[in-house]
Symmetry: C2
Subunit: 340 residues, 2 copies
């Protein structure tokens, strides 16, 4: 049985999206069992309306919630009774390896701080890093590591992001030999700032990854890379500007269509396509950001996650467990250290 | 008479796009005169086919071209007879203030190096910075400073980018009191890396600008800011990922439309709109990136610039001259220094 903890508060659609996503995942995986953290009365009253295998669902009472505007270090220190910290504590004290990991749609800052300070890292990992995944126009996906957990970094971090991200794209997304790009402002090896120029040879000579050179930001959706490594600041800029541009373009199209009768007729013929376009850009379908390098798997769903997104996040934890991702990351980093 | 130098080689569509853009600008502005640098025979043979006021066009012979793959510092040292370096030299030796500035669609690296090393800076400027402009979904434009000239910077740079960019958005794009955003990974003042956390109070307390707080990357096209300041690395990521996502989405829509007969009928009704959408995203309509802080105005057009783009670039130099931009930048920075 694979046991996963779901933080059922803190998201924009909590607890409903979290509960519905959890039960959907439960229905699909027979060897999955879940621990839901949150207000017991609230969760029980919602669960009372649902049909599911009660023997595989447990509630851990957590009356408190960490808000998105709370200072992370204060929140994890003061809000021990919050749904997030209860989940973290279960992982922290899990000496027998009972839990595969957790999913949260709450405060990103608090989750990173709590994971780093309370759960700890896989041996050899400098710092855990987020690795969200976005769809490419070629029909595949690309991972982005780091997307915001580490903003002040050194070249060693980028090498570790590449190693961890490659294993993740292989184990969870089924990409056999992920092509790794280094986010840069030009394709030549000597381009970029000091960080990138120093990281390039490290990546190029690393036997644990399939380095494909520098990747310019405009290539993100092009399908020529399976993983891009970057500092958390530029990774955050990369993913958010892409998201903003795609959603903005769709919104603009919609406004323009509604402004003209002729366009409206056209849009009627194309409505099926527009629905698919919107699904393509719907990040809910691609789950959450896994915090790679944490010794227990932590997946952060978007604050606005719906049930589908939560279900995908649970599936991501499930697959890191069946793929033995964290152990593989430890082994790969150990081989690297031996090589040096 | 406002005299502007146009480098007529080095771009993907040189010299034709450069010549056609130059002549289009010439036709619109009666007080404009142009110096074209490039191979005299080639330029003369192309000009022989055109109708224009010959008294306002001069050719400076430059038989050589700097390629985009050449190392910038080598190129500017060894290729003195190139069209770009001839233009730079005219500006460098212009003691009487004859020229308003130059436009080039050639190598970005060589142009930055040549401007910095040969032309020099406006007094008080630490380093010149690029400021391209992109359209927003609200119908306006937003400047991005820096977009790639400076990748390793300190908070002082960001303050200067804000001052220079604000004056540019006012003088050339007609925005009276530009709202300045600091590119960051969250909106709160304490977000980001050390660079951003240190820059925030500098921007907030600066009387020369209208600081509107941190701007997340997804807000770029939203219309709530007129200028965003950033290091050249993340600025480059911001603009290129936005460009890539917008063009990628349009391409995907086109492919999807052509894959279905029903969609094709729909698209027929909407063809006018699609054309306008494409125009909206056509960066050619927004000219080039001005290198703010250079003591002579230098505008870099995209390598693939067509005649319209080159014409816009010339217009940008023209407007920095009529708006007395460089002098205003010097005065603004001097006031800032006095205040400290």
């Amino acid at each position: 049985m694979i046991k996963i903890i779901v933080d059922c508060a803190g998201g924009d659609r909590s607890p409903d999206a979290n509960i519905d996503g959890a039960l959907a995942a439960l229905e699909k995986k027979e060897d999955l069992s879940l621990v839901l953290t949150g207000d017991r009365d609230l969760l029980e009253s919602r669960l009372a309306e649902k049909k599911f295998d009660g023997s595989r669902v447990e509630i851990v009472h957590a009356p408190d919630v960490i808000g998105c505007d709370e200072k992370p270090t204060d929140a994890i220190r003061l809000k021990k009774e919050s749904s997030m910290m209860k989940a973290i504590t279960l992982l922290r004290t899990d000496e027998t390896g009972e839990y595969a990991g957790m999913v949260s749609t709450g405060s990103t800052g608090a989750l990173v701080a709590a994971s780093t300070l309370r759960i700890g890292r896989i041996p050899g990992v400098i710092r855990p890093a987020f690795c969200p995944v976005v769809p490419t126009l070629a029909g595949g996906v690309i991972g982005i590591c780091d997307s915001g957990a580490n903003v002040d970094i050194t070249p060693d971090y980028l090498l570790q992001f590449a190693v961890m991200g490659s294993l993740y794209m292989k184990k969870v997304w089924g990409i056999e030999n992920p092509r790794v790009g280094l986010l840069n402002i030009g394709v030549e090896a000597e381009k970029g700032d000091g960080l990138r120029r120093d990281a390039y040879p490290l990546l190029e000579s690393c036997p644990e990854i399939n380095f494909a050179g520098n990747m310019e930001a405009r290539e993100l959706l092009g399908g020529n890379f399976d993983l891009v490594v970057c500092d958390g600041f530029s990774g955050n800029v990369l993913i958010k500007s892409t998201e903003g541009a795609c959603l903005g373009m769709l919104k603009k199209l919609k406004t323009d269509i509604m402004s003209s009768f002729v366009n409206k007729i056209g849009a009627m013929f194309m409505s099926g396509m527009f629905k698919r376009e919107k699904q393509f850009m719907n990040y809910q379908n691609y789950g959450g950001s896994v915090l790679l390098g944490s010794s227990k798997t932590v997946v952060k769903g978007h604050g606005s996650s719906n049930a589908t997104a939560v279900e995908k996040c649970i599936e991501q934890v499930y697959m890191t467990e069946t793929g033995d991702l964290n152990r593989e990351i430890g082994l790969s980093l150990a081989r690297l250290n031996e090589g040096n």
